[in-house]
Subunit: 300 residues, 2 copies
């Protein structure tokens, strides 16, 4: 079995499952691992290769790590059943979680010590684009890391931004994107509910603002969730205390003041406190509505 090359995806959540499916669709032998055994069984029923990890590890040339955060990434790579020590020389880890740039640099260093390449490769685009193999990947790493990762990048991404020859740059760009995305979602909610106090309905808000200078990618994507009263979690509120927390930690280390990010983070913290953490992030509108005594669509 050790002559065969294969990919393993660690983390079969909304993003990882989509990436694993895109790899299968590209004809690549793909293992899928998750702490939720039902997700692994589902993936195997759709053509995914079975474990256990120990048997598969020496055939894995590409490990895609698509878990929630830095702690889970480190555990998958170097924990009790860490994969990196099991991987063969010259294989590559593609690390997709949003993590601090310094963490990515540390992971790269530890991988190189084990003869394994590391691609700092945060992803953007949401679950639908993960499933269709059309993600944007903000990637940095050595030339060898990019070359080894190429079959998986080709299968999963529409855009691969090559941001430098060392880990850290990919995660830095992702932090920049998350600063903007997190603030824009909260600002959409602030503006939409402010409009409601002045008689502007959510539908009219979307109709007019999406054609004016106040629009944003996130406004066009998330405001319809509020207008429909549909908070099915495509991307959870819980993402934002984590990601904006990373932004502010990195900013603090750099001596950088980010007051708008800090204000947005507080609104997400209120949402978590209200028990909305697992709802779609457009539910940040409920914080504003509660404070102002407004009824959002679907609430009455």
């Amino acid at each position: 079995m050790s002559d065969q090359q294969s990919v393993a995806v660690f983390g079969l959540g909304a993003m990882g499952y989509g990436m694993a499916s895109s790899l299968l669709r590209a004809g690549i032998e793909t293992h899928g691992f998750d702490i939720v055994s039902e997700q692994m069984e589902k993936f195997q029923s759709e053509g995914g290769k079975p474990g256990p990890l120990e048997d598969a590890a020496n055939a894995i040339s590409i490990a895609v790590v698509c878990v929630l955060n830095a702690a889970q990434t480190e555990d998958v790579m170097f924990g009790a059943k860490g994969i990196v020590p099991m991987m063969k020389n010259g294989s590559v880890v593609i690390a997709c979680a949003t993590v601090p740039p310094e963490f990515a640099k540390d992971m790269e260093k530890r991988c190189i010590e084990q003869g394994v390449h590391y691609l700092d490769a945060p992803i953007s685009g949401g679950a639908a684009k993960a499933a269709s193999g059309e993600l944007s990947i903000m990637a940095s790493g050595t030339k060898e890391a990019f070359a080894t990762a190429k079959p998986a990048l080709d299968a999963c991404a529409q855009n691969v931004f090559e941001l430098g020859d060392a880990a850290g740059a990919g995660s830095a760009m992702k932090a920049v994107n998350q600063l903007l995305a997190g603030v824009h979602i909260a600002t959409m909610a602030e503006a939409l509910t402010f409009g409601m106090t002045q008689g502007v309905t959510p539908d009219k808000f979307i109709e007019v603002i999406s054609q004016c200078a106040g629009s944003s990618w996130m406004l066009e994507n998330r405001a319809p969730h509020v207008a429909k009263g549909d908070y099915t979690p495509l991307s959870q509120i819980n993402i934002w205390p984590k990601d904006l927390g990373i932004v502010l930690d990195v900013a603090k280390t750099a001596g950088f003041s980010a007051p708008i990010t800090a204000a947005a983070l507080q609104q997400y913290m209120v949402a978590v406190g209200m028990g909305l953490g697992r709802e779609d992030d457009a539910a940040i509108a409920k914080v504003y509505a509660r404070n102002a005594g407004l009824d959002l669509p679907g609430e009455k």
Copy 2:
């Protein structure tokens, strides 16, 4: 002369001059008035009709008021040389400044008392679209106000959003748009300079983020000003303390908390304090750069 119908534009700044030129281009007899006599002479040299206002007033069927704020709007309409008392029955005022919705309602009431229609008609799109007759107009007013204003709206606008049959709704939507636009410009600056602390250049920021979920209309429009170090004032910093101030005043009256808007406003206030009020609003990036000890493009 009293049988002739004509339009008068009050305020020949970046927006008003463009609208007046669009009216001329549409073959409409147009007077232009401004406190800066050079602007009036320039407009007359391009085909604008001469004053004085007293002679022209009884022929004016449409008065476009395109001044800086509510105080100037009220002065043009009802001040010592106020136009409304001079205008004939059934004529219309098109009021384009960003003003509080309650102010617009008051102006409508006072116009109706004089037998003059009032269209609450804030504009969006910037000087270039004003000049090309492609503005977006967020309008509300009576059916008669819309009907009388139609020739001017047709000449100046690409989109006329009809937001209701009474003044106030147009200004409410404009306030919503300005909340978003003002926050998005400042957030662009926060993210761009945060990225610089992590080695993300302004050019790379624009290349990547404009294709990712963190993008906004304002980011795509203003970030290039920072990347080029060009702060030629297409829209001044000074606009934002005024417009976000209106948003927060309206919000306060409505019992609405807008913490992200408040945080953005403070950054514009810092910019004004630094003497940047008359620079392009992308110069908000200089606040962040100064605080973090960064050199923006063009600064070294």
